[in-house]
Symmetry: C2
Subunit: 230 residues, 2 copies
DNA sequence: GAGTAGGGATTGTTCAACAATCCATCAATC
DNA sequence: GATTGATGGATTGTTGAACAATCCCTACTC
């Protein structure tokens, strides 16, 4: 016997939105977002309406709706009468993103004691996935697992709005990641620190965990800004 | 002699954006946002494309671009094939907004010690403006001064991204404010508490200030949710 | 009363057109 | 030689019309 008699109905209901219930503009935005976070669309690249619309198989108007969405997510910038471009982060942007991350992620750790067990489990799962990907030499996957880990930390706040903020912050940060020379050199040192962080949380020592997270973010920020040169 | 030889050039560059550099879609979005935050467009109201486009003097396509912006700001909701509506907050939404506010505003207070003096001055200015508006019986203005006060608290973080998050949170919250019966009854008790909060900050007692702010937000949230009934 | 077949109204999307703006190029001026 | 001015092509900004898809109300049937 499966769990509840209506479990499959719930699954259908949950997946309902993802089917047709979305406009083409939203789907094109998803497509572009994927290309950007995967690093295929590099910062500074221009997105011509006519050409891109033809490539995506949508009209200019629909494409422009997609652009508005991604501009609000700070992945694209819109220069009036000039077009839209993939955002290029300044060193100031990177600093501000880390400022916001420190606030939201540290708050997450402070709420670790009262967080539901499945939220804590997600922390461990993300770190484990990162370690496994590292063992397999799949460094891009290490990167996404790392991002999942930090989303899970912030999710300890238990706030959908905080979740969304962090999702946007980390998507933005990917714009900077792709200017790093080697994904491996950037991510490898953090594998052990992530594991240590989870251990501290599971041991209930949130104070030490927060101190460790701050140090973690400080060094990552410094490394990123150093690579930026700006 | 004026300061640097290029100082006026910098001023021009800084003011450059504010001129004509905005699309009609953005201007229409501003218009609608004003109507919503002023409470003239009530939650649940439907915004028909044809009719509204005619009223605003823009085409449907341009109007739809405006809609996308406001949907991302969570002031409108878009139901596929049904249209866009002014958002109606649930009790859960209100709770989540206050959860996020607690995080960001308390963090602001914790940074009060290292914040620049003009940021602290803005706190005092907002509270004073609220007191003056109350004396004049202008209760809507008391409300906007209160919002300015809380934006100033969060601004102590010194992060543009946090500023934007809080701006959106408070804009959303206005959707709930307008369901309150009397603006006066809602805002009046908080005038004295705001003043006390500023005093604590100026005295450097950020711990007491944070405690007071939490209590403040707790009661405001409870009051709002009680009025909601949901 | 429950179910169901129109059918009008609204949204989703495309297309074509034109004005406004940008940008590279070249010419003219001092 | 460097700055300014004019030219023209390319791209964006915005509009209007068109049509398919969908929703929702209504009238009808049983």
């Amino acid at each position: 016997m499966t769990a509840a008699p209506e479990a499959w109905l719930d699954r259908i209901a949950a997946a309902r939105d993802d089917l047709d219930r979305s406009s083409t503009a939203a789907r094109v935005a998803d497509l572009l977002r994927d290309q950007i976070t995967a690093g295929l669309l590099v910062p500074g690249a221009r997105l011509p309406e006519e050409e891109l619309g033809k490539a995506a198989g949508v009209s200019r108007n629909t494409l422009r709706e997609s652009f508005r969405l991604l501009v609000k997510e700070r992945l694209l910038v819109h220069e009036f009468n000039r077009g839209v471009f993939v955002r290029t982060l300044t060193a100031g942007d990177v600093a501000d993103i880390y400022r916001a991350r420190r606030i939201l992620e540290c708050e997450g750790l402070r709420n670790a004691a009262t967080a539901p067990p499945e939220a804590l489990a997600r922390l461990d799962a993300a770190v484990t996935a990162g370690e496994r990907a590292a063992a397999a030499g799949d460094w891009p996957e290490v990167g996404t697992a790392d991002i999942r880990f930090h989303k899970a930390i912030a999710a300890l706040c238990g706030s959908p709005r905080v979740d969304e903020m962090v999702r946007h912050l980390l998507a933005e940060l990917r714009l900077a990641f792709h200017q790093m020379v080697s994904p491996r050199d950037f991510h490898e040192p953090y594998l052990a620190r992530n594991r240590q962080l989870v251990d501290l949380v599971q041991r209930g020592d949130t104070t030490a965990a927060e101190r460790e997270l701050r140090a973690y973010l400080d060094t990552a920020e410094a490394q990123l800004i150093r690579a930026y040169g700006t």
